[in-house]
Point group: C2
Chain length 633, copies 2
């Protein structure tokens, strides 16, 4: 109860303030706006709320903000009046605390006062229902700090009640009540709204007339001692009007106190009980209008909401507790990514990355690290292919496996890797295929069983490459990269290839064949280099994506069986343990940069000379290959 200045039964009018009702949808939408649109912008934003008329007794008077609050053209729900607000969303908790709430309130009050003085509020009474919302969204924790204000101008003195509030049915006959209903509904219909916040009333025993505020001069012509005004009242209390009346009374005092010493107020309350419309709980009373006609200064204002403890202070809502943890994880992962767009790379097209469907051929040291980096980039669709089982030496170097996965002969890597991704982030769509990739130099036994199996493997592989956007070659032999390279080339899929030495590595993107319509006579099915074209270009000229080679382009010998006759150190990838992480990370970063290029895989290969120039993508260069070990450690 605001402005309580004594016993509620006494003769001063008091108002039931709004309780802010900020819906989860509102916070969700604020989060989205902050992440994607406002970012670091702290400028005030227009938002919109509404209040409902028709609650059962006992509910507080609420000003509701929901997901639609940010859409100023969103329709107002039935039986509701809109309220227009200003959102001050700060970047830091410190700025939130330091905000000058007195000033903000004064500014809003001034605007209301100006709209009263200028008559704008008569034309558009919604201007009287302003609100302010000061917020800080801690999107790391899903804690939302806020402080709500519905500014109310204060009359210079308290308002004496000439007639105490009574139920409408104690003043109006059933016939008058019916006539009021009809007159109000008709006016709404004429205006094309479902509710009017403020209106004017004239009535006698036989009829009830209502009118828009802007027609007051005509409407009140001939009235003598008092006028009647109507307010669409969200309050339920029998003795008190709700908050929307306050600024209206100031308007009334300013406009009409010189002609009319008092005003009769009808708090229009409109509910449906057991299927029957009922406005009899509306209240009606009469107050003395203070003289305000000639005061030029904005009256002082009140309106900052008290917090849950009843003190003056902000509120906090912790949405992490009520959010579905999986949704929360998704939003949090998005958050980190979107923050990149705020300041550092505003032109980053995250969607191109997040929506890329990635096929990882190999779920070993490189495969695990590539998958981890893809997860970091928010990639949602990751598929593994591998035919190995997890062995005891794997978990310390292959960061998707643990000791438990090695027991009882070891789980299949592809399946375990997919399973682990789900455990890291349930929002990912990860799958694993425990299968072999047919390889040159590894002849297929011509028994019908193994032949059929090889045929199925090729088919499966082709299907997988077809249904993904990017193919990563992360196997431990040269020859296993051959068939996928050929298939991916024929389907014009971006291929990212990574391979490790002991303290060297190569990360490369394969050239992408020209699109079919352009028709280029390719020399080899697995790469698009056209010898004649290359002859004409200087060694250091930047080569377009469709002329870049693949992993096999410099081969003099055909890929063969490299696994035969290998000693132990040749069987294991013996490399500095940090190398796979570096190469895996670079492979993904290369993919991301290429995807950011408007021409994607057809992008001209950057050379190191390009470091001095404007980079071709928001993330930098798009080289053909990366081969260094950065420290030459």
């Amino acid at each position: 109860m605001a402005a309580a200045t004594g016993d509620p039964g006494l003769s001063k009018l008091q108002f039931a303030p709004f309780s802010s009702a900020l819906d989860v949808g509102f916070w969700h939408e604020l989060t989205q706006k902050k992440l994607n649109e406002y970012r670091l912008d702290e400028a005030p934003k227009d938002i919109k709320g509404y209040y409902y008329n028709g609650d059962s007794a006992g509910l507080p008077t609420r000003l509701t903000l929901e997901f639609s609050a940010f859409d100023m053209s969103a329709p107002t729900p039935a039986h509701c009046c809109p309220a227009v607000g200003t959102l001050y969303n700060t970047n830091t908790l410190e700025a939130f605390k330091a905000a000058d709430k007195k000033l903000l309130l004064e500014q809003a009050a001034n605007e209301i006062w100006e709209s009263i003085k200028s008559g704008a509020a008569l034309e558009n009474p919604v201007l009287l229902n302003k609100f302010l919302l000061l917020t800080f969204a801690d999107l790391k924790k899903y804690h939302f700090y806020y402080w709500f204000c519905s500014p109310a101008l204060c009359l210079p003195e308290s308002i004496p009640l000439i007639q105490k509030p009574v139920g409408l049915d104690q003043r109006f006959s059933p016939k008058q009540i019916q006539a009021l209903e009809r007159a109000y509904d008709d006016l709404c219909q004429t205006e094309g709204v479902s509710a009017l916040p403020y209106f004017l009333i004239k009535y006698d025993e036989n009829m009830v007339l209502v009118s828009l505020l802007k027609h007051c001069s005509d409407f009140f012509k001939g009235q003598r001692t008092k006028i009647t005004i109507g307010v669409y009242d969200p309050c339920n209390l029998a003795q008190y009007p709700g908050w929307p009346l306050r600024n209206f009374l100031v308007l009334a005092a300013h406009r009409w106190s010189s002609c009319f010493p008092s005003v009769e107020v009808l708090c229009f309350r409109d509910r449906t009980m057991q299927g029957v419309r009922d406005i009899t709980h509306s209240i009606i009373f009469e107050v003395k209008l203070p003289e305000m006609a000639f005061s030029p200064d904005c009256p002082k204002a009140v309106g900052w909401e008290k917090n849950q403890k009843g003190g003056m202070g902000p509120r906090m809502v912790n949405l992490s507790e009520c959010m579905d943890p999986k949704r929360l994880a998704e939003s949090s992962v998005d958050l980190n990514l979107k923050l990149m767009c705020w300041r550092l790379v505003p032109t980053l097209d995250l969607d191109k990355v997040v929506s890329a469907k990635c096929l990882l051929l190999g779920a070993g040291t490189l495969g695990c690290n590539v998958a981890r980096t893809l997860m970091g980039w928010g990639v949602r669709h990751i598929t593994f292919v591998d035919n190995a089982k997890i062995s005891y030496s794997n978990p310390v170097r292959q960061p998707l496996y643990e000791f438990e996965d090695c027991l009882a002969g070891g789980k299949a890597k592809a399946l375990a890797a997919a399973d682990r991704l789900q455990r890291i982030f349930p929002g990912v769509n990860a799958r694993g295929f425990n299968m072999s990739i047919p390889m040159p130099g590894h002849p297929v036994n011509f028994s019908s069983v193994t032949l059929e199996q090889a045929r199925r493997d090729v088919e499966q592989l082709e299907q997988l490459i077809d249904s993904h956007d990017v193919v990563f070659l992360l196997m431990d032999t040269r020859e296993s990269r051959w068939l996928p390279a050929v298939i991916a080339a024929s389907k014009r899929k971006l291929v990212i290839n990574a391979a490790l030495g002991f303290d060297t590595f190569v990360v490369m993107r394969h050239g992408l064949k020209k699109p079919k319509q352009q028709g280029a006579g390719d020399l080899c099915p697995s790469h698009p280099v056209v010898a004649a074209d290359l002859l004409g270009s200087s060694l250091f000229a930047n080569i377009p994506g469709y002329k870049l080679g693949c992993y096999f382009c410099n081969d003099v010998v055909a890929p063969g069986d490299s696994t035969r006759d290998r000693t132990l150190d040749q069987q294991c990838t013996v490399s500095r343990p940090g190398l796979a992480m570096i190469a895996g990370a670079l492979a993904v970063e290369l993919m991301v940069s290429v995807l950011q290029h408007p021409e994607g895989g057809y992008a001209i290969a950057s050379s190191s000379d390009d470091r001095m120039n404007e980079p071709p993508t928001s993330l930098g260069l798009v080289p053909h290959q990366v081969r260094c070990m950065p420290v030459s450690l």
Copy 2:
């Protein structure tokens, strides 16, 4: 039963062959030898086995190899005779299969034959008990392939039995038996061995004499028609002698067949039954000696062991099934590391790395990646310090956490990280400390509680730094690195520092103060740069470790509170997801390289000019800082 040529009851002598008994300890030791010593060396190796005399009836005749097999000077167990062998351990399964077993056998047979002809075998009868072992150790799977051979020269014709084998007690009186025991024991004692494989015997009703082979001329002087020889017989069968007799009979035929047409053989069997020594199950028989005195050519030989299926083929033992999985994991992790030393970096001192106790200050994106790389390098002692809880956005970028860890407010990072390391590799000694690091610019509230806590934190931090060898600074603020940098400098601990930007990073080692006795006037407690020294050195001169700066050396402003007033994107480390993996991996690689340097943290900082020179460590350069992003992606 080898060389079975008819009914066992008939008149041809047959021998019970050895069963190879290769103990788990043998394979374990072979693994160690292979990893640390032989590596890629396939040259034949001398090994040693033994056979036991004293089994209960029913056990097969075994030639046992255990962990001691590689130590040629290891003592032979009591009641055992040694056998000398040659190990052919191949690098690949292909080489194992392709080994020329016929040739190996012929070579061994020739050596035996030569020792017989030259008389060396008389001097040292162990030369008659040769064996061969062909192996391939698949240390990735702990599968050991082997083929055992105990070469036996064949007499040109089968050996007719003149007297069938009978128990010793059927031929010797109890008195003779007792005399034999005593004579044998005395000879052993004289020779200082616990068993003699071969010996000579003379006996009559009243006495038993035994002698070494080398005294045969004197010993047999005056013998007429037959001589008696003794063999320490591991066989239990009543009708057959064991394998050791075979080559001895060839020796006997070669040496004595010209003088003696037949030989009496006493298979000396010596066991303890219910606490009482018993040699009565020894057998004695007489055979005709074939004429071999003048044949110069080595007789053909047999001896490759049959496999479990009874065919000629190798055996395989899968130790992964019977090993403790945790031990298996440890060995497997070691394997990958040791393979580096085989070919690529033979001078790598792995122990310096594996034994380094690493303190990770910060268990976030960098901390997790550093820990993963340390695990890859086999580091066994890793301690985390962090005071944060795991939030939903962490798992996709912090590779030690999963979605589950975020629930219910999130686990403490330091504890969860340590826990995860144990799950990845149970052999690691990982601990976590959920504590804050006191920071300049973050004043401690002077209530006694928080002050006391800060005091405890400083103490704890100091103690942790003291008990570790390397301190990694991996926090997300500048100022939190200050106190640990100062403490670590004062304790002369190697500090590795990593920090991320959006697409840049720095990885550096802090300078290490001169050891106290050298006494240098340091300018600042946290670094050892001496201004006067630097003035004299050119910009590109290589700076020794004790003159290198620390993270704060170029600071113009003191570290302060950088967390206040940070917007969301400043609170989170907004960086390309691949960057932390790269920086984390490089931080560890830098540590490893520095540890390999003979001067450790005092090593002269490599500059990029040094790339053309001989690197200062087996792993390359030891720069002061690494700051690039290798693709300039």
